[in-house]
Symmetry: C2
Subunit: 265 residues, 2 copies
């Protein structure tokens, strides 16, 4: 058995989810905490890397004992619905377990995922919001309804199955750059906040941040719909927009076909 | 002339608004920043002390030159609507100016206030929320609709003009303990958050936090309506509830009769 955890974290203090030798990661903290809480040395596998400063609301990570011999054993005696209580006592305040489920040994939080949903938060007040610092991208000028409409229109061009290498940061070594976007929606959620929600079967390196920057460039008239179509057809990064900062990005949800419920009571 | 600033701050790093000799206060940081930004040594007077860790969304503070001789002068040449741009360049990320207005020399941000509104945020998810740490009080169990209804019913007892000394922390030296509450409302604002909003002509030391604790005790059946009535009539602190932590409290708004508009563009 493996234990699948749903976790939320404020990424401001971390260099992403993935373990790094010279910087603090969520994975490193989580691995130490679950090992201590279960009194078994564990490995933790995430559903995604995330960049330094990126946040998560519904990140999924699988936990299993490091010792191969223990994998068949019932190494976790806490019922899944109580796991959050045990682990949150050990975790720092910027990481929380919000639910847990038992999954098969063959389950992989990354490869078993059907889709992922990200949210990008844009704060468009003329002054900064102290409660959104490092949690949203502050653009200092208002987005009009017309501009939000343009962002949604440009977003529609990206829906479906495309080679998104024009929306990938340089330096990525991934070979298959074809991804399918299921949904892209830009909307005003409060007086001074606009969010972009995007879901797909997977995302390339910096893809959500480049999509968001491209749609903002479109809103401000710096990019045309021809540019976006060309960027897709010709896989041309020079036709797409800037990369918005990590601080506005949230991994919101991961969908797995068979795992529909996480327990917490 | 004085300049009246509307400010928001995340109070987590500060020992309240009011200057203290041995701890960092919002007033100390604000005074240094405005003096530097205007190139005039200034004094800053707040609409309220706030406790360590308390936050503000619509705090008001008056700025004037320290040098009496300058008070008649036009010491601030920046139009009020642009003041936020200048000051936010100097302020740290957890304090922001959200608007400004010019007021008479006779104006006092505390004594000229007609009413103040506070909001207390209660997070009632079973697990902690990393994005609400130090910004809401986490009670770890759900508040039912029935319990929210009870809190509102008990809140009605407190409306109007009363001696609130039973709702004041020990050690306060204030003599007039009569205050008038205009409004008290408890409501669910999201799946895992309930807020208490209270407005009145003024508040005693810890009064909002003791009111909130009393209504939570009422919700959980630890205090009766007779206790609350007795606490008011007999000015008896032993009949009221516990003091909820500072981290959930926000000074939301201050109303001044004549000053109705703050400028920011």
């Amino acid at each position: 058995m493996k234990l699948l955890l749903k976790i939320a974290y404020d990424g401001a203090a971390y260099h992403g989810f993935q373990y790094q030798p010279n910087a603090l990661s969520v994975q490193e903290v989580l691995t130490a905490c679950v090992s201590k809480a279960f009194s078994v040395e564990c490995t933790v596998t995430g559903c995604s890397r995330t960049d330094a400063g990126v946040h998560a609301l519904g990140f999924c990570a699988a936990v299993e004992p490091k010792d191969e011999g223990l994998k068949g054993e019932k190494w976790c005696t806490v019922p899944p619905s109580k796991v959050h209580r045990l682990l949150n006592m050990h975790l720092p305040g910027d990481i929380a377990v919000t639910g847990a489920a038992v999954v098969d040994d063959s389950f992989h939080p990354r490869y078993s995922a059907h889709s992922k949903e990200y949210v990008y938060r844009i704060c468009d007040s003329v002054y900064p919001d102290p409660f959104k610092r490092s949690r949203a991208y502050h653009i200092k000028r208002r987005l009009t309804d017309e501009q939000i409409k343009i962002m949604n229109e440009f977003g529609k061009i990206l829906l479906g199955r495309h080679d998104f290498s024009g929306f990938m940061a340089q330096g990525s070594s991934v070979k298959d750059t074809v991804r399918t976007l299921y949904r892209l929606e830009v909307k005003r959620v409060s007086e001074f906040e606009v969010t972009l929600t995007v879901s797909g079967d997977g995302f390339l390196y910096n893809m959500v941040r480049i999509i968001t920057g491209t749609l903002l460039d479109a809103a401000f008239g710096r990019i045309t719909s021809e540019d976006v179509k060309n960027a897709l057809e010709k896989c041309d990064r020079s036709r797409t927009g800037f990369t918005v900062p990590a601080e506005g990005l949230y991994l919101n949800r991961v969908e797995y076909g068979e795992i529909t419920e996480f327990f917490a009571d």
